[in-house]
């Protein structure tokens, strides 16, 4: 489903990160771990097409990531891949319901054809729907971001530090949901994390060194 071959990323022309070759199959749950600065978030961004690699090749759905460049294919790409990135933010002008429904509005999909009700129930968000994003705790915010990433039923979920700043209870709740998605929906999950609870819950660990 996803393959990385000889991928490198250069910063400022001298700071190089090289990645070992990697194959991620359908239904995988892989944790990317490593010390700060080892390139976890960069790898997440490369797979999510939020950044471009300096050399090597990344294939997603058996096609080079560079083929998803025109307007139509990039939109389809974003529809198939749920991203819970640290660059994502919640919209202060929208309540939580609209924040979660935003991908449906963007892709002009009816609420009935989405995961909305199911996810709200599973992530215990029902009581938060009419609240504003400013009224949420860190744990609630991460759950809302996860709900928004999953509302379109994507085939792949890419999450960057999903449990950062969460307490133990919230972390466990979030990890359980990731496992549920992976087990029941066969969603391929790629998580960059520092958290042992997350990495131990995943099926595979991809370790980076500085």
């Amino acid at each position: 489903m996803i393959t990385l071959k000889n991928v490198t990323k250069k910063y400022n022309n001298y700071d190089l990160i090289s990645y070992n070759d990697l194959i991620i199959n359908k239904g995988d749950f892989i944790s990317i771990v490593g010390p700060s600065g080892s390139g976890k978030s960069t790898l997440i961004d490369l797979i999510a097409k939020l950044n471009t690699c300096s050399s090597g090749e990344i294939k997603i759905f058996d096609k080079s990531i560079n083929t998803y460049d025109d307007k139509r294919s990039i939109q389809l790409f974003r529809k198939e891949i749920g991203i819970m990135s640290s660059t994502s933010s919640l919209f202060s002008i929208l309540n939580i319901r609209d924040n979660i429904l935003l991908p449906l509005i963007i892709h002009n999909i009816d609420k009935c054809n989405s995961n909305f009700e199911h996810i709200i129930h599973k992530l215990n968000l029902k009581n938060l729907l009419d609240k504003s994003s400013g009224d949420l705790s860190s744990g609630e915010r991460q759950r809302v971001l996860l709900a928004r990433a999953m509302v379109l039923k994507p085939k792949i979920l890419i999450a960057d530090e999903p449990t950062a700043n969460l307490d133990l209870d919230n972390t466990k709740q979030l990890v359980n949901f990731l496992r549920y998605l992976n087990d029941d929906f066969k969603t391929t999950i790629i998580v960059a994390t520092h958290d042992d609870i997350v990495s131990k819950s995943s099926k595979r660990i991809y370790e980076l060194e500085k």
Binding site: A48, K71, T87, S88, I93, I105
Partner: protein, 380 residues
């Protein structure tokens, strides 16, 4: 489209609740409001003034003048209402140490000949302003000096009796006489005055007259040609003021530009999120352009409404009476203001264009230049 409508509505409403965006938005609205209002009202006044002066000219002066008073054939030229022979000359009124030049004119519809019992008295319809200034009323008489080529002194004194007071748009006082009386005191060459049904077709009428009376070529002139300089000056004044006041819209557009820029800068992370979620760049562009445009449209809308109300109020005679404004100088009645649809459309299109440019460029610039940086991380 649902996405554009949904986010435009949300962003627009948020501007009025967000303290940091509310003030710049209000400044944009007010600046557009003031510039549209000023531009419309000034152009309506200019247009009103031109129309009123034009109407006054058409009311008081012949539409076509023929310097040849020979027998001419005006039959079957449809646009002509009437024609009459006329004379025009000048006299002087001396009151103490005051000397005033007076225009003397024969007018077809004046016939006081039957009332004349003294051949040395000339009856005239006289400008109201002149009568007021010299404390004269109906049936008063006064003396004026006129050229007299047949006498030794070449000048003679005649007695005028005020038969009526008239409004006049002439720059100097005027006395209208009956044609028969005028013949005795005005020694200039006779000419023919024509009044038309549609004065704006005077050029076509002149062509028809020349076609039937070829000898009149070069001896016929219409009101538009006579007053060409006046209308050109008014047009120049109007265009100059229009251009000058357009700068107000330009300045207002800069506030929209900076307002849009700061709004986009503030929403930077939301724009990145929209792109990550798969929103099309064009749709995001449309949202922010629409938000800025609609915001400015509020200012434009209130500017137009207030301009319309002001135009109606000023156009009504009552407001002039209430304010006790004297507008008799130009011989026009009421405040010279007219709601002109052509100016309304031109000013609206210009304003919309400027608003669109001011809304589009910062958004487009930001989305096209910085979008990759926006969506990507800056460092490792």
């Amino acid at each position: 489209m649902k996405f554009i409508y949904f986010l435009t509505k949300k962003y627009l409403l948020s501007i009025f609740t967000d303290k940091t965006l509310r003030l710049p938005a209000l400044i944009s609205i007010i600046s557009i409001f003031i510039s549209v209002f000023s531009l419309l009202v000034v152009m309506f006044v200019m247009k009103g003034f031109e129309i009123k002066v034009q109407n006054k000219i058409l009311e008081n002066f012949p539409h076509i003048i023929l310097s040849n008073n020979a027998k001419n054939n005006f039959d079957s030229i449809g646009n002509i209402i009437s024609y009459s022979n006329s004379l025009e000359g000048y006299g002087a009124y001396i009151n103490g140490n005051k000397f005033e030049l007076i225009k003397l004119k024969a007018k077809a519809n004046i016939n006081t000949d039957s009332d004349i019992d003294d051949k040395n008295i000339y009856y005239g319809d006289i400008s109201k302003d002149f009568l007021l200034l010299n404390n004269l009323v109906k049936n008063d008489d006064f003396e004026i000096y006129i050229p007299s080529p047949n006498t030794l002194k070449k000048i003679k004194k005649i007695k005028i009796k005020v038969s009526d007071a008239i409004d006049s748009s002439e720059s100097i006082p005027i006395i209208y006489f009956s044609y028969n009386q005028a013949k005795n005191i005005i020694f200039s060459k006779e000419f023919i005055e024509l009044k038309l049904h549609d004065p704006f077709k005077s050029k076509e009428t002149i062509n028809s007259i020349i076609n039937k009376n070829n000898h009149l070529k070069g001896q016929i002139v219409d009101w538009q040609t006579i007053n060409n300089n006046l209308f050109n000056i008014m047009k120049l004044e109007r265009v100059s003021l229009g251009i000058f006041l357009s700068f107000l819209v330009l300045i207002a557009s800069t506030t929209i530009y900076s307002n849009t820029t700061s709004m986009i800068f503030q929403r930077k992370s939301e724009i990145a999120t929209l792109l990550i979620l798969g929103a099309k760049k064009n749709y995001i562009l449309a949202v922010f352009v629409l938000v800025s445009f609609l915001l400015s449209f509020i200012g434009y809308f209130f500017g137009v409404i207030l301009a319309k109300i002001s135009t109606n109020l000023l156009a009504s005679q009552e407001i002039i009476d209430v304010l006790d404004i004297n507008l008799t100088f130009y011989g026009i009645e009421g405040f010279p203001i007219i709601f002109s649809y052509s100016y309304f459309i031109i000013i609206s299109l210009f304003t919309f264009f400027m608003i669109l440019v001011a809304s589009f460029f910062p958004t487009s610039f930001y989305l096209n230049k910085n979008v990759d940086e926006l969506i990507m991380r800056d460092g490792k």
